[in-house]
Symmetry: C2
Subunit: 333 residues, 2 copies
């Protein structure tokens, strides 16, 4: 059973998930190879994953067999387990709870070789819809306070499988980085009466220097205090704190901007490994005036050294203005 | 000129240091090679570094020539520049200041091939002494609020040179992770009237399960809520918030525990890349009852994936108790 533990000084929760230690790839000095042979996410290999939670399929095709367009399955090596109570414990200075949560894999396409950014817009729309659907389902479980939607592409970004997929983790706590954003947003709101993210978007949309891509519903920017070269954030232009409130038309416009931004990054950096993470409001808080949901995309082009780890203070060799300009100038095919 | 920029939501400062972008190694997709040929840190190559700030040398040997035992030089590719004023600026929602600071390299030994952990104890003592000496010197500059002492070993940990060295960065701000520790320590102190780190040390020393190594002055533990496998922290047993207060006898005992811990990690993980960072009080705050200086060592044996980046919430596949037991059981030669 995995365990959630809280650092007694800074209050950061970690998952101690010994089951995962059994995967050698999780736990050996870094190498750069990614499995090329057998793929457990491909059609015909459905029995290699735990039974599916959900799928869009060809009419009449049975579960856990071929014929699917998108498939959601439990992670075979979950960081958290679905069953059980959270059971908060304390021991002297320490606090912990059971590693209760959900860990799911979204297999985004049956086609093994296709990169997320090259998927047809309708397929990306479907993935975005499935994210929202799974989030709403997990919201019904009162043990869960947060759902993380994320995607790792490439070995260097932590992906252990090449087949295009993303992950969903439901947690009984709100992760530190998100609660910092909420706290910061609340502080700004109480001082100015406005959402800080809305103010950032307004300022960026007016100046254009850090805008990478825009459409009727979304804006992609290179953030002012970017930690990494080519770090890119995507915001809905209109205030919304919860990804669960995404509208029908926004699935399409979000798919468009996501695909365009990733295509630009792929062309600029020759298909870099990257991480993509949704930041959304905690499940139980719903609509917050001081938080604004968004997506953070971080290409892995620099190594994080000791200075950054030790201090939370990043050195970024590329001004975000230059990244944005470079990305904007790329002509999409 | 580099610039310090503050994230308007969470208040995290970053260094935007475009000069560093010129080093291709900082900015190209990750590879695993480390320069094997010419070494700018070796004796006879002293002219390849900027003029030395300090050195212990053979009697009569001139600066910037051979004959040194340890050498401190400015970083040739500094993230921050020594000259100028901090000059705080704001622009709408954003705040920034000039990238003023210091960035120094401590060349720990003239011997190219020798790993830090294999250096004689007297050499490690000398390095620890030079850290403290440089810190005291930088403290005199009223523009600086914090000094980070750190060491990256191995390409995967961000080291671009193999020759054993560490780095010193002086900053006009207190890094986020340190101020979080200070805030957490203050909160605990106001509730319990004790240093939270002292309580952690007392609990760990009593139970022994997470203790890796101990001597008369220091204790090394696998932290309860470790983010990474084999993460190890070293604390002075007696309360002290500022590395600058280290005593004559502690140089020796710290060298001993540091060398022993690193030897254990090297044997357990076959000479892993690692980061080592000192956490000490801000320069201007001196002696704090609620903060306790320490060293954090993080071997790079897992990849950090999107989930961790996006959320600040780590999944650690190895219980720290198991790591500590494993490390304790290694017999040192």
């Amino acid at each position: 059973m995995s365990e959630l533990r809280k650092d007694p000084v800074v209050g950061r929760w970690v998952i101690i998930a010994p089951e995962r230690g059994r995967r050698p790839s999780d736990y050996v000095v870094l190498d750069s190879e990614q499995g090329q042979g057998f793929c457990p996410l491909c059609p015909e290999n459905e029995k290699m994953t735990p039974p599916e939670i959900f799928a869009f399929r060809e009419e009449g095709s049975p579960p856990d067999g071929p014929g699917w367009h998108i498939r959601v399955v439990p992670n075979k090596f979950p960081a958290l387990k679905e069953a059980g109570e959270t059971a908060y414990r304390s021991d002297g200075v320490y606090e912990s709870m059971n590693g209760v949560g959900a860990h799911e894999i979204v297999i985004e396409t049956p086609e093994h070789g296709q990169a997320f950014s090259d998927l047809p817009l309708e397929t990306i729309k479907r993935i975005l819809f499935v994210f929202k659907m799974r989030m709403e389902e997990l919201r019904k479980d009162s043990r869960f306070r947060y759902v993380v939607l994320f995607k790792n592409r490439g070995r260097e970004a932590g992906a252990s499988l090449r087949h295009s997929h993303s992950q969903i983790i439901a947690l009984p706590i709100v992760p530190k980085r998100v609660s910092e954003e909420i706290t910061g947003g609340k502080r700004y709101f109480s001082r100015h009466g406005r959402c800080v993210f809305c103010d950032v978007i307004r300022q960026e949309a007016g100046r254009k220097v850090r805008v990478v891509e825009e459409n009727s519903d979304f804006i992609a920017i290179a953030p002012f205090a970017a930690r990494f070269p080519f770090e890119t954030w995507i915001f809905p232009g209109k205030h919304a704190s919860d990804y669960g409130t995404i509208t029908q038309t926004q699935y399409r416009t979000l798919a468009e901007i996501l695909s365009a931004v990733l295509k630009r990054l792929n062309m600029a950096l020759q298909n870099p490994p990257y991480n993509l993470v949704f930041h959304t409001a905690p499940l139980t808080e719903g609509s917050l005036p001081h938080f604004h949901w968004h997506i953070e995309i971080i290409p892995k082009v620099t190594r994080i050294a000791g200075f950054e780890w030790g201090t939370g203070f990043y050195i970024n060799p590329m001004p975000p203005e230059r990244c944005a300009e470079y990305l904007r100038e790329i002509r999409l095919p």
